[in-house]
Amino acid sequence: MFKINTVKYLALTVAISLTGAFIAPGNVEAKNKFVFANSSPYDTLDPHTVYDVGRVATRINLYDGLMSWMDNPPQLQPTLAESYTISDDALSYTFTLRKGTKFHDGSTLEADDVVYSMERLLGMKKGAFSLFSNIIEPGTTKALDSNTVQFNLTERSSVFLATVPALSIVNADLVKSHEVNGDWGAVWLSQNEAGSGSFALSRYDPAIGFSAKRFPDHFQGWGDKYLDEIEFRPVVEVNSRVLGLMNGDFHGTDGYLPQDQVKRLAASDNVNVLAEESMRIFYSIINNGRKPFDDINLRKAISYSFDYDSFINDILSGSAARNVGPSPNNIWGSPSDVTGYTYDLEKAKEHLALVKGPVREITIGALAGYQQTEQAAALLQNGLNKIGLKTKIVAEPWSVASAKMRNEQEMYDLLFLWKSTYYADPNNWMGELYACNQIGARNNSWYCNPEVDALLTEARVNPDQAVRAANYEKAYKLIVEDAAGVFIYNTKWFGPYNKSVKGVRFSPIGNAQEMRWIYME
């Protein structure tokens, strides 16, 4: 009935659609500029507001601490401090600062900056605050002179030194000049920086990430090979990070990708995958305080019902190391002669038969969006069903799970999750997860064994390393014997990098995101 020039119109439509198709994509080609795709957003740059693994790059590249953790296994080494002394009563730690350390604005870093940084952390009550809040009172940190700073502890703590790297030192004068209504300069520092780190912030957009240029006057100096510029971009989709690395948009991304993606990257011509055993254990909390889980035989029955080998070798393709106890294999204080639990349904049934009273339906918690936790929950459910226990799996986002973990009534019976390294000391795991005074806070198992607690308490305050190691080894064995949790594996880190990237130094604290060692060939 009607005629229109269909062919002409379709040709025009196709032409419009394809116009952009001939525009060549622009890869990141700038020499000596490293672009990292991060799984978490950089919604704030304030080093005293956040203390997580996802945003570690801002803290370790833009800022320095008095001390820092390096390499794997992590070694604690002086950084801004050139030395320290501990008083006879082990309550005062005095650090002597290197002379002439410069902030990015050219001013000199002095003891007053360290004092202000500690006061700011304690005052804001965020980030790494809880590492110090129990042992340092506000107003007690002193600048003895411009290069000497003294921390005065309210009680002895052999863990204190290990946590010192968590205190990023900020330029006190600069931050104070941006304080508004006593906010510690929080709004300003959330989108600016006031550090002395190896790289100085050059551009920041919360939606896009941050870019920083090499700080030539950094106190550690620079060798012959280095990066001129670093850029960290949040890319939430795993697939986009992987494809971006394969086609050269990015030079590196996080080292805890799903195994299928690691294999995909390893097969790419552009990518090298580096591997290290990290310090990040995967386990299931058991709510020891709630009936019937206060019965050790039920906890043992559960521990014997998880198929560890299938999980590690089949589901994870052997990409993790079996870890039988509550701290990583590769940290001191973890005994090497503990065999832990195996998948043994007969033993599980034997222990179940010894449980007093009926066992109700068990709620197994998993973290929604974290596939491994859901797979582990399903595997345990299968094992428990075989010994006649009824279970249900509840997968909820971390924001929900983290709230429930602090509430004895709302807490799941079991919950699969990881415990990362914030400082390389056994207290990071055993002391926080199983000490009685941490119940409801970091001890989400409601586990309290007086013998274990005495060992952990002594290890926390005794300055003798040999005594501490022995205590942790004993505590480790007792916790395993009590089947306080289902301990599964220690994570391996598979860091994917563009083949031109060299000099990567991995440490479980920082996950190889300290860029001053990296260069490109």
Partner: protein, 334 residues
């Protein structure tokens, strides 16, 4: 005058609609058993630290008091601050708004300029091969999940053929902020390289968003044109010897577009929601990505800010649709 009355009438509904949205989203987001304070305080935080922070942010108060305080703040133009960044929500939102608007508007534009003519062709050539092919395409557009299509586009056009950027909004950081729309800002500063970079980065996310939108427009336009073609006035115009081109594109299309324009308004809202997925896949630094992170973090103020902003945009677009409809068809001015 009738149009002014129409606008006034719609604006009157604006406040109660937004108020209802506010109460609904506030209630839903706060009754979810998440604790944003425990979450952002971190796993090392003590219970005392969390209780102090909860009191500081007013989360220890009854929900109705929190809601009342929030409503008062919103009516004073204050969307609050992010629990994470401490920055005003409005600052974070408006920094990302242009990215989402640019993506959405270009998608609406592309889907319309392709969808409307294809709909006309499908109607004029109804039951022909081309109509069947277009039906196959449009059904595919409506049926295929956008996240899957996005990944396929990435694999084909970026990885295999290497003719489009994989992700991001532009190479580097983009032009200095003038309007926040990279296409416009790069033209204002006369930087063609930036303009082409911005345009090329739009191709895949726009294609992902525009394809299902175009399918809807094609279907509605086809239906509208078919209705109009069978009208008496078309028979009259044919009898009068009007050229077919004039009849179709001037008279038939005007009447057929009434339903399509309504759909375009709805599509705009659907596309804003669709950006949540598309922005995550293409790493597009817009409101969708912001909403995803805010929900994952239970950042209440940010969730509320996103919802109110998109709600207001949706209401605004529907107002524009009503105005355009009344201009196309004066009978709608009542």
């Amino acid at each position: 005058m009738r149009i002014l009355f129409l606008i006034f009438n719609r604006l009157l509904w604006f406040i109660p609609t937004l108020l209802g949205l506010l109460v609904l989203i506030f209630t839903i987001s706060h009754i979810i058993p998440a604790d944003p304070v425990a979450f952002f305080a971190g796993e090392n935080a003590t219970n005392e630290q969390i209780a102090e922070l909860r009191a500081f942010y007013g989360f220890d108060k009854p929900l109705y008091i929190q809601l009342w305080n929030y409503m008062i703040a919103v009516f004073q133009g204050d969307l609050g601050v992010s629990l994470y960044t401490q920055r005003p929500i409005s600052q974070d939102m408006f920094a990302r708004l242009p990215a989402t608007l640019e993506l959405t508007l270009v998608s609406v534009f592309v889907s319309t300029i392709i969808g409307v003519p294809l709909g006309v062709i499908a109607a004029v050539k109804r039951n022909s091969l081309i109509d069947h092919v277009l039906r196959l395409i449009t059904v595919s557009g409506l049926a295929i999940a956008s996240f899957w299509m996005a990944i396929l586009f990435q694999l084909l056009f970026s990885m295999e053929l290497a003719i489009t950027p994989l992700q991001g909004r532009i190479d580097g950081w983009g032009p200095d902020h003038i309007t926040g729309f990279f296409l416009i800002d790069s033209l204002i500063v006369g930087d063609w390289e930036l303009f082409w970079s911005a345009a090329s980065h739009l191709i895949l996310p726009v294609a992902t968003l525009a394809f299902p939108a175009m399918a809807t427009i094609v279907r509605f336009t086809r239906s509208g044109v078919l209705d109009a073609i069978n009208s008496n006035y078309v028979l009259y115009e044919q009898a009068m010897g009007f050229p077919e081109r004039i009849i179709i594109w001037k008279y038939v299309l005007r009447n057929a577009l009434i339903g399509t324009v309504t759909q375009i308004g709805l599509i705009f809202g659907i596309l804003i929601a669709g950006t949540v997925v598309v922005e995550a896949i293409f790493n597009w630094p817009g409101l969708g990505l912001y909403a995803v992170n805010s929900i994952l973090n239970s950042d209440y103020n940010a969730i509320m800010g996103f919802t109110l902003t998109t709600g207001a945009m949706f209401i605004g677009v529907n107002l524009a649709v009503d105005v355009i409809q009344s201009l196309i068809d004066p009978r709608n001015q009542g």
